[in-house]
Symmetry: C2
Subunit: 342 residues, 2 copies
Amino acid sequence: MTVTIEDIARHIGVHPSTVSRAMNGSPRVSESRRQQVLAAAESLGYRANIMSRGLLGKRTDTFGIIAPKLDDLHAISLINAQEAFFREMGCVTILTITNCEEQAELKAIDNLISRAVDGLVMNYVSMYASVKAKLIECAQRIPIVRIGGNSQGVLDEVDVDFNKWSCAVVNHLIEYGHRRIAMIVDSIDYEDGEGHNTKLAGYRKSLSLHNIEYNPALVFSVHYLHQNIKHLMQQIMSLKERPTAIFAYSDDLAGGLIKALTTAGYKVPEDVSVVGFNDDWFADRLAVSLTTCRLPANEIGRGAAELLIRRRKNRTLPPVRRMYECQVVIRDSTARHSDTAG
Amino acid sequence: MTVTIEDIARHIGVHPSTVSRAMNGSPRVSESRRQQVLAAAESLGYRANIMSRGLLGKRTDTFGIIAPKLDDLHAISLINAQEAFFREMGCVTILTITNCEEQAELKAIDNLISRAVDGLVMNYVSMYASVKAKLIECAQRIPIVRIGGNSQGVLDEVDVDFNKWSCAVVNHLIEYGHRRIAMIVDSIDYEDGEGHNTKLAGYRKSLSLHNIEYNPALVFSVHYLHQNIKHLMQQIMSLKERPTAIFAYSDDLAGGLIKALTTAGYKVPEDVSVVGFNDDWFADRLAVSLTTCRLPANEIGRGAAELLIRRRKNRTLPPVRRMYECQVVIRDSTARHSDTAG
DNA sequence: CTGTTAGCGCGTTCAG
DNA sequence: CTGAACGCGCTAACAG
């Protein structure tokens, strides 16, 4: 059934270990033997059993990707870029989705390790301290790269300064004359329990820079899995002090919000400006093209995968932390407050 | 480093095989021993090495997903549904993307098998005979489910009648008074070399039903990877006999097309009607909400995964072929031809 | 009920 | 340059 190293050894009348050496490019095999072995392997349709390789602690050319979800374009872009890079390197990807659940994340890490992956990339892990600790512990066994998080130089990391870019987005709104700006945050905010590098922090920073008082009543927390956008929209628009602009933590959410708003008879941006985050590919195709902040998702994902491969080669490199820049993209979903009826 | 079955055996002073039995729920272990073993495993942080399990030909609780691409929402929906189902069953997913390349597909199958997956699902494989043959061969070793393809009762399959639903979409256009209808087909059409179950076949069928002559000059073949939508749009709109409606094989493409059309100054649907296929979630949020055909992507993906798990349980079941129904969804991107300037 | 032995496929010692 | 033997972690058959 399965053709093994032994089959091909028998086929050409040598010992299995000779075959093994030939396949692995050992110098202690005559070139003619090697060719003979390779030919036989080819003709018999031999394919190395990765299980046994893994059992021996050798490379499996398998990488693990842990991601929070698979129903948002930004997460998908990252996975896409990572998978593509691994594939280009001749490697295979094991994908694990965790829904940001602590137990799922912990289990995923163990699981991947027990599958002898050559390394793993953790995409926007949630902020659980247990997960962070486990990652740091496991990083001694296998290469680990994390996206979104700050371990202070312990882990290889790739990140974006959400604080800075979120601030930039809100700056844009304020420059447009808005002062009552609602914000929708993800109830599971990533990493950094102290909240330094979060979109909310950037929002507050921008307000503070412009001497606008922070009003918690304007901040809405949403769990991405259970978001009822229509209800959220109603909550926001029925505030006594109705905001003139809304900053949604993702384009996905912003798109849904615009849809809900227009369905309810509001006009964007005339009645209310809306900004998103990510610049997912549909952002400029929406009914109202979206003002947002462009994250270089492809570069980020690829960068993470690259870092992993690099560390697989050399385990002794000092940890690196690579930051990516973003860009505010102004489109039709925001307008000057003076221009509006507001 | 790694805690093995032997560590826990030594820890409580029994033989490793006893530990193995306890873990696997063998009846030939005293309940007290089992509890003792389980407790020790827990406390030592034991996690079964899946490599060795695989080497023994046992279940690995790992499933392979082979998919053509990861940058189109429909493909992603399928993967999402499959991964979620496998995860619910306590299993892990190995994802392989092939870009519809023959060698990549063949290699992916071998690769997954050498990783001892418990089964694999092939999403919309391309039509290469070699791949089909290999799938049929491998189906004797491990459970395989295919989406989109017809092996005449040899493989487990899940599919949609593209011919039928594509015809329904074109019927809608014709009922709206269109007679010059362009079609954009995927240059890599899935499976079925004879072209029975393709969107193009449905298009031709509808024309034929309405006594409209088929005009090959109205059919444009696009490779999803290299699509230059603007150029394609220009090609179509500069035809001497300009079509009054365009049927694009996917919502993704239709969205891009609408964007290109409006950018170039054309109005949709006034100047030209556009329909897509799939009803991806953004279809009703586009600048012009999209008339399309809704595929139950989630049910399809889940159904495939379910079938796989089912077959893992019982290898002797006769192959099944499960078809899913679609639904034409009429929105704003199509208008009656008599209503337009024509 | 539990210990012993053998072996899954491969890579890496050691001998020759 | 090549063959023989051992072991990765685990399960299954066979003893006791």
